[in-house]
Amino acid sequence: MTGPGPRVLVLGNSHIAAVKAAHEAAPGCWSALDFLGGQGEALASVTAEAGVLAPQDEAARQNILHLNGRDAFALADYDAFVVVGCKLGIYRALAPYRRARFLGLPSVARGKVGGYAAPVSRAMFGMAVQEGVAACLGGALALRIRASVQSGVPVLIAEQPRPSFDCRRAPDRFGEVLRAERLRDGPPLTEMFEAGVRAALPGITLLPQPSKTRAGALFTRPRYGNGSVRLTAGDRQYLHPEDDFIHANAEYGALVLDQIAAAVQAPRGTGVSPRL
């Protein structure tokens, strides 16, 4: 890690690639960062033992070592921790929405509960969101870090971007979110998600998806998804397929870095952030 300002460790799954790409494109723009990336569920086995964050599972260790060049990170080396993506996003509210509806939803107010979804109380829906938030890869990881560092050390979580609005081209994969948008249920679902994070992740600050990247309540503007790259070990970048619709690009990553800098009060450098 180089440069002045707080020392920050950014942890994440495939969604960390957007942040990493932004940082690599303009290294002088933000405070120096270290990255702990892990593909798939690799971060699920990362725990803090004797003050060191490391995977406890051999396959995860190999993956993290390959991606980051090291497999252990001393907690004391950092002033703040940021979990990126890791399934912590609007999907946590969309999962219960697949099977349940509450009265505060505009669709329910218009009498469109639907035969496949059961009516539940708002409180119970919120409880389901909270359970999902705490149990998902990012929520659980953030909680483990929170429990391992002093209360004054910031632990942040940057939510996974919403799907690109271009996902309309794949209605079979994104049927639920498209239905929610059509029924105008997005805003209360967003509220549910954010309230769920506050309740389920005490002491952890949510960095919500930057507002300028959003399309409606439930989508990401396509310009922030186009050209997204995979999480890889080397410098060479591999693009996601055009119909990925899930991952964001470096331009989006730059906005997340701005959020991180503001949250940890790091001085911003003079570099130019990427505009792809």
Binding site: R99, R122, M124
Partner: protein
Amino acid sequence: MSHPYSDLPPEAFWRSGVAEVDAGALTSLYVPKVRIGLQTRIATAGSCFAQHIGRALRGAGVAVLDAEPAPLTLPEATARAFGYGLFSGRYGNIHTVRQLVQLLRDVQSGDVSEAFVWEKDGRFYDALRPGVEPLGMDSPEEVLFLRRAHLAALGRMLAEAEVFVFTLGLTEAWIDEPTGRVFQTCPGVIAGQFDPTRHVFHTFTLPELRADLELAFGLLRSFRKRMRMILTVSPVPLTATAGGGHVLAATMHSKALLRVAAGEFADAHRGVDYFPSYEIVTNPAARGRFFEPNQRSVTAEAVQMVMGTFLAAQGLADVAAPSPTSADPGEDPEDGVVCEDLLLGAFAR
């Protein structure tokens, strides 16, 4: 010299039927009149003990109906706290026969009323099942919205049910005098406000129990013509009595009335059976071993005994081993059982 007792089987005599027999190995105690099979669609309701029955029947592979399965991927304990998976509907404990009659009438009519919405700390509760939303609801409208959905789901379930298993739990209840509505819990315990000018304590009498059982059976058959009933009496004592006497005497009085009412009602109707879960658990030969140290909760062994007896008599014991709340003696059989009346224990001095 021959007389009526000379040729009776061993179970007809106390010594050979009870005193000299292990309490866990009673035979011929239950000969089913209402037969069920794995495909029989069963609905369950009643007091806390009925939750054990539902779970054990499900565990044995019996087709226990669930009108309102938990729609969300919640941990089981959370789902149960919200009243899911306890009975065949999300009605919580139905302690009295009058409560059952009232619910069946509500299902029939679909009527809901804001008069039975309770408030506590800015949250709102369904006064007729206040325990199923432990966090309360946002508004009276939400309470009524969910109650309408609840009644509609029960209507669909009851139209499918072939056998209704009902466990009678209490004879004591609190009634809203102006309307005659009976509550699941005393107003003020979970939510709402106790109003001595309208909330009256009542102990149902034997004639009232008989009449309510007739009404309940008739209402059940209005949903499905040939629905049959299996009645049981909960062996779980009262948590508290508001009748002015000792809780032990109140418990014995209540259980005696319920036992008589259930037995007589079953004797009088071809489509109604009585299953002696109460007798199995309170058998003196068990020397109290079927109760936990609190002398109220029923042990896992007892639940297994009760359901083993039931399933064996129904010819279902070989199909699947009964799996009640717990077969592990180290586990608390009350885990996962939701009893609103336990809240009354908190008021004990």
